[in-house]
Amino acid sequence: MHIHFLDPYRPRPSLIHRLDPRVKFALTLAFILAVALTPLGAWPVYILLFSIVLSVEILSELGVSDVLKRSTLALPFALAALPMLFTVQGLPLLTLGPLTLTQAGLERFAGIAAKSWISAQMAIILASSTPFPDLLLAMRAFKIPRLLVAILGLMWRYLFVMADEALRLMRARQARSGQPAASAARVGGSVAWRARVTGGMAGNLFLRSFERADRIYAAMASRGYDGEVRAFPLPHITRGQQSILALGLGLLTLLVLGGFLFWG
């Protein structure tokens, strides 16, 4: 039993997939930064940024509707920004009881929602178009400590193994969660009891993890591991990829500057 669906990577013969992972990583971060730096009222810039991300989605052949669907997962957090609809001073638009919806509040809320939505899409494209080992390479290029990269590599590798085990524990619990024939007054035990059962499952997972970590260490030591993290040197970035990076960064800088000049 495998949890394939946890891995968002989808291989496609697209231009985006073929980009150097370091370039993709840099451009994604730069894009998100550009979105964050764009002042709240600068709608034309948002439109252009959105069209950029939409174009990249199309280029990546991942399926625009799929990416859009996934990007809505972050929406519930928008509730946190909801109060600003009513608290920012501005032109009143609508009154609901004691609360007054203001135009400025609506604009700010819409701005934040737009930023969030656009940023999320670019992050989704990065994760879906780049195999995780390539992302690790990009992290190394960005000078993230080798130790941390090694830990992340192992974490990724065993994520699915552990998730399988967690699933099996939950299935076992499900299998034992029958309903009595005559409906009892209380089925399923108290919340506290259920939490403790779940806690037991968590403890179980922990135990298996310790034991597995020991075995993995034995396997690593058997192949000569000495505690130092070793890897091949990073491959060379071609001129083509460098120019794509430069172009992308240049375009984003222009957009951000434009945003500041006109709406700052």
């Binding site: 964050a36 946190a80 994520l159 403790r196 037991g200």
Partner: protein
């Protein structure tokens, strides 16, 4: 293998992973810097403490916490409780290893599953991986000391550490939102604090359940880790300081609806210094259409052209291509 359409990777505890767009750039970068410093130090300490075993141990435990967050229990009807794991990780691994483990979990959640933003990642790591861990450590060790190391202190300490880690991390989150101007403190703090005071109960219970299980089955593992408290005074003090700071700052901030007033004032000064270009150019290029609207329309047209151009190009190249390979 049967496809499991029912199971979508569930997001971690609701409303703790801040997406991009909700924090100001200044706040994001500040917390990135803080997190980088603490995580960097954690790497050094874990290197000292675990040596060769650190990579497999941290990696697998990070995977375990991630998978553990998938474990849920139904609270009422549709809602369910989840585990964050900061308390459990801290109690079993010590604070520095816990920081690393949670950093990896939160990092991968953001990068791969978009559970939390990338620019906001620094703040998320800080809230869950650093505040959560420091506070857990402080609470747990304090209770242990007060109880003189008696066995019930493990369970009580575990519950308290679990609850407090969630609650205080939520306060940190709320204050970050307030500082960014996204959510006024007098709403964010009570809301986040209130919700997570409840969620924290679930965390506390699961933490206790896990500790009880391990205490019963592998007491040797337990005691080996309890005997040498890895972490020491610095972490304890940090935990106390953070908990106090957030507990005091939150009600203070709540009573100032505009967020922290001096921040607003600073902004006012800055605004005077920078005049948007619009004020230099006349308001209308075309009579009746403001420059702002014009720019928006033009941007819309330009954007649409770009998108259609790309779509067309892709469709064109696809026609001449071999059938696309199917997914794994």
């Amino acid at each position: 293998m049967l496809a499991s359409p029912v199971l979508v990777p569930p997001p971690a505890p609701p409303a703790m992973h801040i997406p991009d767009g909700f924090l100001s750039v200044a706040v994001s970068i500040t917390f990135w810097v803080l997190s980088v410093i603490v995580v960097g130090y954690a790497l050094k300490r874990v290197n000292q403490d675990l040596g060769e075993r650190q990579v497999p141990m941290m990696g697998v435990l990070a995977a375990c916490i991630f998978a553990g967050q998938m474990l849920n229990f139904s609270v009422t009807g549709g809602t369910s409780g989840h585990l964050l794991g900061a308390a459990i990780a801290t109690i079993l691994l010590g604070p520095w290893a816990a920081v690393l483990v949670l950093t990896c979990v939160v990092g991968v959640q953001a990068l791969i599953f978009q559970d939390g933003g990338l620019l906001a990642l620094g703040a998320n790591i800080f809230n869950m991986g650093i505040v959560g861990v420091a506070v857990s450590y402080f609470v747990y060790r304090t209770i242990q000391k007060l109880a003189g190391g008696r066995s019930w202190s493990v369970l009580v300490g575990g519950f308290a550490a679990g609850w407090t880690s969630i609650f205080i991390a939520a306060l940190a989150c709320a204050l970050q939102l307030a500082l960014s101007g996204t959510s006024p403190a007098n709403v964010a703090v009570p809301a986040m604090g209130g919700i997570h005071a409840l969620i924290g109960i679930g965390e506390g219970l699961i933490t206790v359940g896990a500790l009880a299980f391990l205490y019963a089955t592998r007491r040797d593992l337990f005691q080996a880790r309890q005997a040498r408290p890895v972490g020491g005074r610095a972490v304890w003090i940090a935990g106390l300081a953070i908990a106090l700071a957030l507990a005091v700052a939150s009600p203070l901030a709540s009573s100032h609806p505009d967020g922290l007033e001096w921040v607003a004032e600073q902004k006012g000064f800055l605004d005077v210094a920078r005049k948007p270009l619009f004020e230099i150019i006349p308001d209308y290029v075309f009579p009746g259409v403001s420059n702002g609207t014009l720019a928006t329309i033009l941007a819309g047209i330009l954007g649409a052209l770009i998108v259609f151009g790309v779509a067309f190009a892709v469709a064109y190249t696809r026609r001449n291509r071999q059938p696309v390979p199917t997914d794994h």
